[in-house]
């Protein structure tokens, strides 16, 4: 398991390669990259600032990974989440899951993303032509996380 919270960009290809290296039983790697969009909720986004809760962030993500490992037959999970100033087309988050078979890899990867969205202490503030605004959480994210039937 690896969790990194950083302002620097990441190389998804390198992280995927690292998850395969050294384990010849890996048959499947599922990966997700979240990207800053130019338009969000109808407004043009010039850039954004990602704030987080140092200490709790890593702990919350580690807990999500532990849950994924207890629910699915997976080898490893790695999460990189950026903080600080980001602009459209920048990468925000990477989740990579390795497994013997694809079903487990896909589900665990989506589970980790859904829980990151509702459990990991990050907050986005967008700069738009109408001024700065804190992004509001989406009900659809709670729904997405809720379908996994995990207790809070």
């Amino acid at each position: 398991m690896a969790v990194r919270v950083q302002s620097e960009d990441f190389d998804a290809g390198r992280e995927i390669a690292a998850m395969r290296a050294g384990n010849a039983q890996v048959g499947a790697v599922a990966a997700f990259v979240g990207v800053v969009r130019e338009m969000n909720d109808g407004s043009a986004v010039a850039d954004m600032e990602l704030e987080h809760y140092p200490g709790m962030t890593e702990k919350a993500i580690a807990k999500i990974i532990d849950q994924a490992k207890s629910r699915w037959n997976i080898f490893d999970v790695m999460v990189v989440h950026r903080v600080g100033r980001l602009k459209p087309t920048d990468q925000i988050v990477l989740v990579v899951v390795s497994s013997a078979h694809r079903g487990d890899a896909f589900e665990a990867c989506e589970f980790v993303m859904d829980y990151l969205k509702t459990r990991a202490p990050f907050w986005k503030k967008e700069q738009t032509p109408q001024g700065a605004r804190w992004v509001e959480s989406r009900a659809s994210d709670d729904v997405a996380a809720g379908r996994w039937n995990v207790k809070a």
Binding site: Y53, A60, W123
Partner: protein, 93 residues
């Protein structure tokens, strides 16, 4: 006989994102009054400050809290030395 100082329960409060800006502070140390032993009690104590404290913590806008870096509920117990954070629903990922 224990020294009186032993009964003073000090906690660290931290505020993030919209709450940090509205409340005008990122963190503070406060002493918990004798009757305040859970998150709901602490929230009531902070709302009594009035102004942004009352409006931000009333629950009309959603607020979340963590105790010692774990997500917590209104009835979560708090005590001396705890780190308690208030923040809006998270929006990372």
């Amino acid at each position: 006989m224990l020294p009186v100082a032993h009964n003073i329960q000090m906690v660290t409060l931290i505020y993030f994102a919209r709450l940090r800006e509205s409340l005008g502070t990122g963190s503070e140390q406060v002493a918990l009054p004798a009757g305040v032993r859970d998150l709901d009690g602490l929230r009531a104590m902070l709302m009594a400050r009035g102004g942004a404290w009352a409006s931000e913590l009333a629950g009309t806008k959603p607020v979340r809290a963590a105790v010692n870096q774990d997500m917590a509920q209104g009835d979560t117990r708090i005590g001396d030395g705890d780190e308690i954070a208030f923040f809006p629903p998270v929006t990372g990922g």
